[in-house]
């Protein structure tokens, strides 16, 4: 990973949290493999998995309304559960989250959603909307690529993708690829989070949702969504405000977000679309008192993204998709001493670090659907412009960089009977970190109707942050094998073993061996249980010693109830961060959140819903670094009107 990056250059390029992370990684302590905390976490893992496995067998299921009506509710016989087949034939380790699941947890931003996904670790700097860091299978957060409708929102100057900037209400689904996905996406060493936004509601000229919530410390999240279509033209509009005095001291936020999508249906199943995404957040992000840091950090983030695309079939089997995008990303970080309000010592003469980024790009993709294979050939081009008012942490020397990057790729999915093979290659010209060749190959095998096997191996890369000087890329070779099965009645289980070998000219070679396990039950009396566990053992290849600061155990558990009128979700999560002992991290037990909702009025096209959330029910402490504790117990509630 980037343990040996030049930390003297880093401060102005990354926000301060990134700085802390990089500093702690640079220390590279050698830790014994056995720690007392492991016993606790192992117990928790065993308990959660046991809960999942011991779920009561189901003997009923929700009936179809029509079928019930025609049978006079006399034929609701129980049926045996079968194993879910994979959601797709993809060989990669993919997780999909949909809008109903997001609403069930009263999520404010994408960060809240990702908290519940096995294999992902999120570090929050505060409450909703405050900076959050995403780690996939314990790879570094700068290697997680986040896309909104296929366009990257990742900061080119820091490699950071702030998932707290994306409001949850605009999300239709999130597709997460865990593990290197460079053969399709280019720079994607850790994985890809692709946010697919809501589409226009067809069949109604106007429909919408108004949501308002309020919680402790005047934490409010209000949004209005409008959607509809007239003829071939459809629209989806969303505006929202997220404000808080800070559920943690000094982490206030004042943010507003807007999203618009227009879609026009062309003849012959083609489509023309345009999107615009705007998000602005003024917040307090970090408050690290003296004597350790005496630091107050206040970022002001602005991100805008516009895209235009067209998809059109060129024949029965061939489809062309072309799109263009432009994004503007500005981050102003102000650093002051808490004690006297003076400029923080690292920020000599600079009250505010300013980073402005503009990315203009285009993508083209040809999709050929053969009788037994799906061939995708495409290219991406991006022109990056970066302005930074300082090149390092001690001198003031504003600089501008302009970089052109392009890549071409070819991916195929060949299906022969129950077996699908997915080879892929991509070539990228990065200009700043050499040329990159990223191959991959994977396969799925539908072993039985209840069991699917999956294997995937790929080489990927991650780019260093774009600064005044260039650094070589970081490489990874990932191999993942796994299975999905519901051979056990009423239970769906997915297990994955992964091996990630990471290296680079400025990075010590690491080997991360791990496993991921997910278990979910089908609903029993409208209630289901889900658990997830991820274990990663990261060692230095040279001496075999464990490397700190990569999460070792991650546990997620969720108990869900939904009878269409009342719903409730109880979630628990535990991340054994395995941070350097000097960080004084604290991560015992699980953090529990309870989300409740009730639909009070329900009509054909309208409804009124109230919801309530209790965060960190038992006031648990779970943080990587004692300067950034997690919020304690806090409550919020609200209502949602659909029309």
């Amino acid at each position: 990973m980037n343990n040996c990056q030049d930390t003297n250059r880093v401060p102005y390029l990354l926000d301060i949290r990134s700085l802390f992370l990089l500093l702690s990684r640079a220390r590279n302590p050698i830790m014994p493999l056995i720690k007392p905390q492991h016993t606790i976490s192992t117990f928790l893992v065993a308990l959660c998995l046991a809960l999942g496995i011991l779920a009561c067998p189901a003997w009923g299921e929700e009936a179809d309304e029509t079928l019930g009506l025609f049978s006079a509710w006399q034929e609701e016989a129980s049926t045996a559960s079968r194993a879910p087949k994979p959601l797709s034939q993809t060989a990669e380790n993919v997780t999909v989250v949909t809008a109903p699941e997001i609403e069930a947890i009263n999520a404010h931003t994408l960060a809240d959603v990702l908290d519940t996904i096995p294999g992902i670790q999120i570090q929050h700097n505060g409450g909703p909307g405050i900076t959050a860091y995403t780690f996939i299978q314990s790879t570094d957060f700068i290697h997680t690529q986040v896309y909104v409708d296929g366009v990257s929102i990742t900061n080119v100057s820091s490699g950071f993708s702030d998932v707290s900037l994306i409001p949850a209400n605009i999300i239709e689904r999130v597709e997460i690829v865990k593990g290197a996905a460079s053969s399709a996406w280019g720079q994607a060493l850790g994985g890809v989070i692709n946010v697919i936004t809501k589409s226009p509601e067809r069949g109604r000229t106007i429909s919408g949702t108004a949501t308002a919530s309020i919680g402790e410390r005047t934490t409010t999240d209000d949004s209005l969504e409008l959607s509809g279509a007239r003829g071939r033209l459809g629209y989806y509009l969303s505006g929202s405000l997220l404000d808080s005095k800070g559920v943690l001291p000094n982490t206030r936020i004042d943010s507003n977000r807007a999203y618009a999508k227009l879609a026009y249906d062309l003849p012959n199943h083609g489509q023309l679309w345009g999107t615009y995404f705007y998000t602005h957040a003024d917040m307090g992000d970090l408050h690290a008192p003296a004597p350790a840091y005496d630091l107050d950090e206040k970022p002001d983030k602005l991100f805008m993204l516009g895209s235009l695309g067209v998809r059109y079939p060129l024949g029965d089997r061939l489809e062309l998709e072309v799109s263009g995008h432009h994004s503007f990303n500005r981050t102003n970080n102000s650093y002051f001493n808490i004690s006297d309000g003076a400029i923080w010592s690292w920020q000599t003469s600079l009250p505010t670090s300013i980073v402005k980024e503009q990315v203009s790009g285009a993508s083209a993709k040809l999709v050929w659907r053969g009788e037994n294979n799906l061939l995708v050939a495409g290219s991406d081009y991006n022109h990056l412009e970066l302005f930074n008012n300082s090149s390092d942490g001690s001198t003031v020397s504003p600089f501008t960089r302009r970089v052109d990057r392009w890549g071409i790729y070819l991916n195929d999915t060949v299906t022969v009977g129950p077996v699908s093979v997915t080879p892929g290659v991509r070539f990228d010209h990065t200009q700043t970190a050499g040329d990159q060749f990223s191959p991959s190959i994977g396969a799925t095998w539908q072993l039985t109707g209840a069991t699917l096997l999956r294997a995937y191996t790929a080489r990927g890369y991650g780019l260093p942050v774009l600064g005044l000087t260039d650094s070589p890329s970081v490489k990874i070779w990932t191999t993942q094998v796994g299975a999905e099965s519901s051979a056990i009645p009423y239970i769906w289980a997915k297990g994955t073993l992964f091996r990630n070998q990471t290296w680079g000219n400025t990075v010590e070679q690491h080997m991360a061996l791990g496993t991921e396990l997910e278990i979910r039950t089908i609903p029993v009396w409208n209630t289901s249980l889900g658990t997830g566990y991820t274990f990663t053992d990261t060692t230095r290849t040279s001496d075999g010693n464990e490397v700190n600061n990569y999460a070792r155990h991650t546990v997620q558990v969720a108990l869900r109830y939904n009878d269409k009128t009342y719903r409730g979700v109880l979630t628990g999560r535990h991340i054994f961060w395995n941070s350097d002992p000097s960080e004084n991290g604290h991560y015992g037990g699980l953090l529990w959140d309870l989300h409740l909702g009730a639909t009070l009025l329900k009509r054909e096209n309208s409804s009124l819903e109230v919801f309530f959330s209790a965060h960190n029910l038992f006031n648990g402490a779970q943080y990587y670094f004692d300067q950034i504790p997690n919020p304690g117990r806090w409550f919020e509630g609200g209502m949602r009107v659909r029309f």
Binding site: T66, A72, T79, R204, T413
Partner: protein, 292 residues
């Protein structure tokens, strides 16, 4: 590296082009004999390749993604959940069966067609005519069955039958409206309306029938045992066959938007002799319609 690259290209380009695609993606809400009957009818006499997905078998299933990747020529949706799962599909034709939501959704989804779960209104009205019933009570939810009631009213006028209509917006209103029909109707027409007829209110229809000596004509044989005098029941196998004809037309190039929603072709009249006898209606009157 070169060996791997060569292997990947070989896989991509040289794999045998064995046909493994399919024509129809069958989405079934859950496992149920009613769906099996419809599906067997759909398959009769046709050799369409298909992939069957039973939604209840899955914790989660992503239909949009499956359709995007598998590219079936059409989707056959059996049941409400299956129809709901196709909501996001806008390009792929969808033929829907055994769902009461087809009609309302059809107006907004040009790629959707299918067969309603209502027998044609004239079939019921002919039956009432045969029973010599001329004031028919009918409780319905305007948003769910309004379109059907409107058609029924026009046909009833031509046939000299008066429909005494009561609109409900929530199930509990049904009890009130039933009591308001006392003395004003000589038969009750029970529609497949999930607001007007619920598990909680269904008995009230038959209580009304007994108390006021009027027959209830319903839509499924399951209600005969509860006290319905007669039902017009949809033949599910024929329903599937009818859907198969629609699908064949689509596979031959017709647009789903050009194929209108249809009433079920084959509807069977079934009666409860003891109820009819109690009400003084002869079986001959009930089955006078020669088309049954």
């Amino acid at each position: 590296m070169r060996i791997l690259a060569a292997f990947i290209f070989s896989c991509a380009l040289l794999f045998p082009l064995v046909a493994d695609a399919y024509d129809v993606l069958v989405l079934q809400s859950r496992r149920d004999p009613a769906f099996d009957e419809a599906l067997s009818g759909f398959r009769t006499g046709r050799n369409l390749s298909e992939r069957l997905i039973v939604l209840a078998d899955y914790v989660d299933v992503d239909i949009t993604r499956i359709v995007r990747e598998d590219q079936p020529a059409l989707v056959l949706a059996l049941g409400d959940k299956a129809l709901e799962a196709t909501r996001k599909l806008r390009q792929t034709p969808v033929v829907a069966l055994i769902s009461l939501g087809i009609h309302n959704r059809h107006t907004s989804h040009s790629n959707l067609t299918g067969i309603d779960m209502f027998a044609a209104p004239e079939r019921y009205l002919t039956l009432f005519q045969g029973m010599r019933k001329h004031r028919i009570g009918l409780i319905f939810h305007p948003a769910k069955s309004g379109w059907y009631v409107q058609q029924a009213r026009q046909i009833a006028q031509r046939m000299g039958i008066e429909l005494v209509l009561r609109e409900v917006s929530v199930p509990r209103d049904t009890l009130f409206h039933l009591s308001s029909l006392a003395g004003k109707v000589d038969a009750l027409w029970m529609l497949p309306d999930s607001t007007a007829v619920t598990r909680e209110t269904v008995e009230a229809y038959f209580r009304f029938s007994q108390e006021h000596n009027v027959p209830v004509v319903s839509f499924a044989s399951a209600y005969l045992g509860l006290g319905a005098a007669a039902v017009l029941e949809i033949d599910r196998t024929e329903l599937g066959r009818q859907a198969g004809d629609m699908s064949s037309a689509i596979l031959k190039g017709a647009e789903a938007s050009d194929i209108p929603l249809a009433y079920p072709h084959r509807v069977l009249l079934k009666t409860n002799p003891s109820v009819l006898k109690h009400l003084g209606i002869t079986a001959e009157q009930a089955i006078m319609n020669p088309r049954e």
